[in-house]
Amino acid sequence: MKQFSALLLKEWRENLRNYKIFWIPIVFILLGITEPLSNYYLPQILDATGGLPEGAVIELPDPEPEQLMVAVMGQFQLIGMLVLVLAYMGSIAGERRNGTATLLYVRPLSYVSYFLSKWLMASAVALLSVWAGFLAGYYYTAVLFSAVPFGEFLAFAATYSVWIVLVVTLVLFASASMPNGGLAAGLTLAALLILQLIHSLFGSQWDWSPFRLPNYAASFLDIGPDAVALAWTLALSLVCLLILATMGIWFAKRNRAKTKV
C-alpha cells in the first residue's frame, strides 16, 4: 500500500509536469464547445462561405439538444479517443526505453501497484476530460438551444465513462505488452477499429457487448436502454477490464527484461 501511494505520487507528478492533466481536458472541452457552437452559427457560416444564389432563404430546423450531446460523444469517439490513446501509449513501453524503468525495476517492485498506479492516474485524467467536455457541451447546448434533462445527462455521461475507462485499460495493456509506444497505439487502434467493424457487420444481435456502451449511453437521452441488456453489458465490461488489467500486469512483469539500460 505504501509502495502504491509512492508510485501514484510519481504518476501524479509526471502527469503534472508533462502537462497531460491540463492539455487533455482542454482538448475535450474544446470538442464539447465546438459542436453546439458550430450548429448555432451554421446559417451564418453557410452564408459567409457562399455558394448559395442571391436571396436564397435557408431554413434550418433547430437541432434537438439530445442530438448535439450525441454529436459531442461522436467527437470524443474519434478525436478524443485518438488523443487519449496517443497520450498514454508510452506510459509503460516508453519507460522501458527512456531509463525510468531502470530506476524502478532494480527495486523490489510490486507490478500490481506499478500497473494500477498508472491505470488509476490515466483513468482519472480521462474521466476528468470526458466529464469536463460533456459539461461544457451541456452548458453551451443549454444556453444556445435548450437543456437536456440533467438526470438523463448524468446517466449518459456515466455510461460513457465506463467505456472510456475500458479504453484506457486497453491502452495500458498494449503499452505493457508491446516493445514501444507506437506499436502499443497501433495495437489499441487496430483492436478498437476491427472489433467495431466486426460488431457493425455481424453484431446486430450482440446486446451484451462492451462495444454497445456508447450506444446505450446515447439511448439514455432518448427512451433509455433495456435494463437487462445494460446490466449484462456492464458486467461483461467489468470482466474485460479485469482480464486486460491482469494480462497487463503479467506482461509488465515479463517484459522487464526488455528494458534498455
Binding site: N18, Y19, K20, F22, W23, I26, V27, I29, L30, I33, T34, L37, Y40, Y41, Q44, V83, L86, A87, M89, G90, A93, G94, R97, N98, Y140, L144, N180, G181, G182
Partner: protein, 64 residues
C-alpha cells in the same frame, strides 16, 4: 455579425486555445531534447490552431 453575444460565446474557445498554446510553448522551451528542431515545433504550435499543440505533445515530446 461580430456583436457582443458572439464575442462572449467564442471567447472561451480563444482563451482555451491560447492556454493550450502557452502550455506547449513553455514545455518546448524547457525541453532539452525535442523530436526535431525547436523553431519548427514553435512554428507548428503557433500556426496550427488546436492541432499544433496536440501534435507537439504527442510527437514532439519524445515520451513514447
Amino acid at each position: 455579425m461580430l456583436d457582443e453575444r458572439t464575442i462572449l460565446l467564442v471567447l472561451p474557445i480563444l482563451v482555451l486555445q491560447l492556454a493550450l498554446m502557452i502550455f506547449a510553448i513553455v514545455d518546448l522551451i524547457r525541453n532539452p531534447n525535442p523530436n526535431g528542431p525547436k523553431w519548427m515545433w514553435a512554428a507548428i504550435i503557433v500556426l496550427l490552431n488546436l492541432i499544433g499543440p496536440i501534435l507537439y505533445f504527442v510527437i514532439g515530446r519524445r515520451n513514447y
